[in-house]
Amino acid sequence: MKSQSMHFKARAGRALADVKLQGTLKRFSSGFAEKRAIARAAYGVEAFEELRGAAAAIRDRGLEQLDAWLLRFEAEAVRHGTEVRWAETAEEIRAHVLEICTRHGLKKAIKSKSMVSEEAGLNAALESNGVQAVETDLGEYIIQLAQEAPSHIIAPAIHKDIDQVADLFAAHHGRPRSTDIETLTREARMMLREHFLTADLGLSGGNFLVAETGSVALVTNEGNGRMVTTLPRVHIAITGIEKVIPTLEDLSTLNRVLPRSATGQEIENYFSIVTGPRRPGDTDGPEHMIVILVDAGRTRLVGSELKAMLRCIRCGACMNHCPVYHTVGGHAYGWVYPGPMGSVLTPVYDGIENALDLPQAATLCGACHVACPVKIPLPDLLRTLREKQMVLHLRPWRERLGFALWAFAARRPRLYALAASVGARLLAWMGGRRGLISRLPLGGGWTRGRDMPAPEGRTFRSLYRARKFAVVYGDRRLRGREDLAA
């Protein structure tokens, strides 16, 4: 998928002006976060915090010897009849999938949610090579009909309201328009059923790769994952190399924290551990199972100061708790991954110079950090990326000059005090009687949507010095100034 992240500001502006989207975002904004809070309380707040620590430690243990665990996974998977392929780039993912389609003569793919396939723009590649690709996760199905990209990693159509979905279904299904959720869901189910039964390729992601058993673990809520991994002749699971974890025991811990953090569920409706293709005597399962292990930028994180990002288990909690995401929605971010995790991943995977706004477009409020089930210090990582931009001279000269001047003055107390005094008086004068500045030169970003409360006039330190002076010498000038006489 081609990144539009360099246009974040313009895209965010459009999102802010989109009244319908703003309404949808407002309704969504606290839903998942509230559900997570309830699930956390039900688990026990302290116990849940311990669980987060355990989950983070498990992820680190896997990642510290990533190469070894991946080789272990490969050996075990192959032992169970799975073919393992490695893709260094998005291009290689497409090449692998298309080659497999040619080799097995595959014509129709059903897909369960896979964000890595979005990285590779896989649907477009399949379609242009004569393979029909049908998204079967309800949200993904909706945005496929709308020819849009996901706006959230676990709720891809969260930006659409019922009316928009009703319009889409009416246009594509040739049935009477309905705005009843149950009717809409039943309609999608009926349409998808036909695709499930006629597809010869199942494409899935993988929530975790279990090294000791060579298994792919999948969590879904709609059951489509089961259909995708069992009905077609061939199943391809595509997932990032960082998803490998050492043991099944680790999986049980991570699967306590994942659904609670994502949707506030204790457990997902469907939880599958897929280990190899159909064996002799099995009643179902594909004839061939292939796992594609994807790098596409991930090894750049290994051992780097951003390595904690590799712990990510794609639960979406960071965006569910992000006030910026709630304000502009996922499409503003311009690539596959939105919200705080996307603002770290996009510059790393797609090039820091192609996503200059993303690390800056955060208030560093920390809500993502405290919600993250594997304790990724997202604000610190965003700050690290800001530092890289600075070091690589990717910030505008005006910003750099501004900081240089400020830092020069702040290290020289007398100069700083003088500048502060002059500035405070000037701004106080600009604020007039109301004490509000409605247009600030060089501060248009602030005053376009807000007033700037004006300073009181004198700086604290000059008043404090005057007060001390008055106490010692009984300065006449200060008599009657109640605000100065403590």
């Binding site: 965010a12 502006g13 802010l16 606290s30 006030p323 910026v324 304000t327 502009v328 706004d357 800056q360 477009a361 955060a362 208030t363 560093l364 409020c365 920390g366 809500a367 950090h369 405290v370 610190d380 700050r383 990326l385 800001r386 530092e387 890289k388 600075m390 910003e399 900081f403 400020w406 830092a407 003055a409 702040a410 290290r411 107390p413 700083y416 502060a420 405070a424 109301r434 509000l436 501060g443 248009g444 970003g445 602030w446 376009r448 949507g449 807000r450 007033d451 700037m452 409360p453 300073p455 009181e456 004198r458 700086t459 604290f460 330190r461 008043l463 404090y464 605000d483 100065l484 403590a486």
Partner: protein
């Protein structure tokens, strides 16, 4: 005990009265308060913008200015959080500096945290009367753990009724330079905060950080709300609120 008052650059320039309010509170708690006159800024603007060099220089300056005191107190969770949680990241692998940083971090407090957990004050001088709501500033809440402290202090004011707003822990959209770089997003976030404040029915929103204060007040006034007051907790507690 000898307390160094970290005035903070925003209080110094924008709201000196908050500095005096903090001074009053600390003095009435029995502290011997010192205000190092050479202090400027803790370095956070540079740190958050990726300007490590300037942040480091200002951190060294602040450490030298304040490390001799028994305690360092700031009327800001954000500046206290900078000293307590981020200074150590500016001196990686530098043993001697890190020792000084840890020493300073351990004795640096956000004002309400200090009043409740160190000074353990019984009463406050303020006499404000009215319905207020409290906005939890992000750094104070999530870096320093300021949550119950200001509420415990508000409870000591007999005339104050605290009416919590929905999403009181959600960021107001300030975020330092974010508020200028992404002014429209920032203003929209501030607007959501203003709606919550209005819905609480409070006459005043009380908070503990200047950035949020300027942001929320600026948005309230632009929305045409001239009535809802925006007060720093120190003003309210010290009695330095104009009628």
């Amino acid at each position: 005990m000898r307390v160094g008052l970290l005035v903070t650059c925003l209080v110094d320039v924008m709201r000196p009265r908050i500095g005096f309010a903090a001074l009053t509170l600390l003095e009435s708690a029995g502290c011997e308060v010192h205000v190092p006159s050479s202090q400027t800024c803790c370095g956070q603007p540079g740190w958050n913008s990726g300007e490590r060099g300037s942040a480091r220089a200002l951190a060294e300056k602040l450490i030298e200015e304040f490390e001799a005191f028994d305690y360092v107190v700031a009327p800001s969770g954000s500046c206290a959080g900078m000293v307590k949680t981020h200074y150590r990241e500016l001196f990686p692998g530098e043993g001697a500096w890190l020792e000084r940083v840890e020493g300073l971090a351990a004795k640096t407090w956000e004002l309400t945290d200090f009043l409740v957990n160190v000074a353990r004050i019984e009463s406050v001088p303020g006499d404000f009367e009215g319905v207020v709501t409290y906005h939890d500033s992000c750094a104070g809440l999530r870096e320093v753990g300021v949550k119950m402290q200001p509420r415990a202090l508000l409870a000591k004011l007999q005339g104050v009724e605290l009416r919590e707003m929905q999403d009181c822990e959600t960021c107001c959209g300030f975020g330092g330079t974010f508020s200028i770089k992404f002014g429209d997003i920032s203003a929209a976030m501030a607007d959501a905060k203003c709606e919550r404040i209005a819905a609480s029915g409070a006459q005043a929103v009380v908070l503990g950080d200047l950035g949020c204060m300027l942001n929320i007040e600026g948005r309230l006034r632009r929305r045409g709300d001239e009535r809802t007051r925006v007060l720093h907790i120190a003003e309210l507690l010290s009695g330095r609120v104009d009628a």
